[in-house]
């Protein structure tokens, strides 16, 4: 069954890469992260699966689409300022030359990329050979650190929730979670600074 899920995942990944239309790619990525969520659930990592399903498949799809909408608009707008046209032309010429050059190198660099991917993949696969089995009680993390076992045995009494993920997130690692919340807030702040400011400036310039 895991094999089937993995097969679907690989198929979706290929589809997402090969599709030219960005919108289709976004949609396929949504399905991809959904299959990923299924895989997490299959491995009993419910909270991760939930996050993947709601964030990866839901909000990030919508956000990417919204971003696409912006990009699409930018591309279609003809450059209004005539002064800009001259540097743009030279830019275009330069770009064209760069494209010609890159086309020659394209094939070589593609093979280079393949080589790097295969090499890194092989190394990673080699690395997994040393990894302990999932849930192995004798793995180094469990044997030496004993953190996991502490959580497993004590969290019910010390913290309370039946879901240990919540105990760890909210209690043992409360600082981290606070930091994460701040990070999300910061992301929103960045978008506010970049986009809302730009809109405001455009409006002011037009009014002036």
């Amino acid at each position: 069954m895991e094999v089937l899920i993995l097969a679907v995942l690989v198929g979706l990944a290929i589809a997402a890469v090969r599709v030219r239309d960005l919108m289709a790619a976004v949609a396929i990525l949504g399905a991809y992260s959904l299959m990923m969520a299924l895989l997490w659930c299959q491995m009993n990592a419910l909270d991760v699966g939930f996050t993947e399903a709601s964030v990866g498949a839901g909000i990030s799809t919508v956000l990417m689409l919204a971003a696409l909408g912006r990009i699409g608009r930018r591309e279609e707008g003809p450059s209004r300022a005539p002064l800009l046209r001259l540097p743009l032309l030279t830019m275009k010429a330069r770009l064209r030359r760069a494209q010609q050059l890159s086309r020659q190198h394209h094939r070589a660099s593609a093979w280079g990329a393949v080589l790097v991917c295969v090499l890194v993949g092989a190394l990673l696969l080699y690395g997994t050979r040393d990894m302990p089995q999932v849930g192995d009680p004798d793995s180094p993390a469990n044997r030496q650190a004993r953190v996991a076992q502490y959580y497993l045995t004590k969290s019910r009494d010390e913290v309370g929730p039946a879901n240990m993920v919540t105990s760890v997130l909210g209690d043992y690692r409360g600082y981290d979670t606070m930091g994460e919340t701040v990070v999300i807030f910061t992301a929103a702040l960045c978008v506010l600074m970049l986009l809302r400011e730009a809109v405001g400036r455009g409006r002011r310039e037009r009014d002036a």
Binding site: A66, T181, I184, F185, A188
Partner: protein, 174 residues
């Protein structure tokens, strides 16, 4: 211009919104014994506003979460989280030590309840921040260009089935 989402989509989307919101809060409230928590709940809650904006156009969606409200709630969530930490510090516990809320010398059961409320409190903080942040992200990214704003406005007028009720801002920060 044709109304972009059809009548049926708008009808169903609008009816689905309260259920999505309640479900998001359910996810938040039951994060202790099932999957979920503030983050997932917040995302789903934000998704309900996104759905509203998709169905009724940017302007209508924006009206249900005014800019100022989202801007205030995002940091308020962070502050709620940190504030719980500081309050526990003031009472005499460690930073974010929730059982301190039960007061010194409380019995085991009281400490447990205090702990539970503390956890829900911080999860609520996470959720507020995540919801508001996602709403900000979406609405800023999907903001229609100047030339399209009028068009969106037209959709909003045509779709004006929503009677004026109490506005959302009073109730959202509860």
């Amino acid at each position: 211009m044709k109304e972009t989402p059809s009548l049926i989509v708008r009808y169903i989307a609008r009816r689905a919104v309260p259920f999505i919101q309640l479900y998001a809060l359910y996810v938040l409230g039951h994060g202790e014994d099932g999957p979920g928590g503030g983050f997932q709940g917040g995302v789903i809650f934000a998704a309900s506003f996104v759905l509203l904006a998709l169905a009724y156009g940017w302007g209508r969606g924006r009206a249900s979460v005014p800019e100022k409200v989202a801007d205030v709630i995002a940091p308020a969530g962070c502050l709620l989280y940190a504030g719980i930490g500081f309050v526990s510090l003031l009472i005499g516990g460690a930073f974010l030590q929730y059982d301190a809320f039960a007061g010194p010398g409380a019995d085991q059961a009281a400490r447990k309840t205090a702990h539970h409320f503390g956890l829900i409190g911080i999860e609520l903080g996470v959720m507020l921040t995540v919801t508001a942040s996602m709403v900000i992200l979406f609405f800023e990214m999907a903001r229609p260009a100047e030339d399209e704003a009028a068009e969106e406005g037209a959709t909003f007028e045509q779709a004006g089935h929503i009677p004026e009720g109490p506005r959302a801002e009073e109730s959202l920060d509860g």
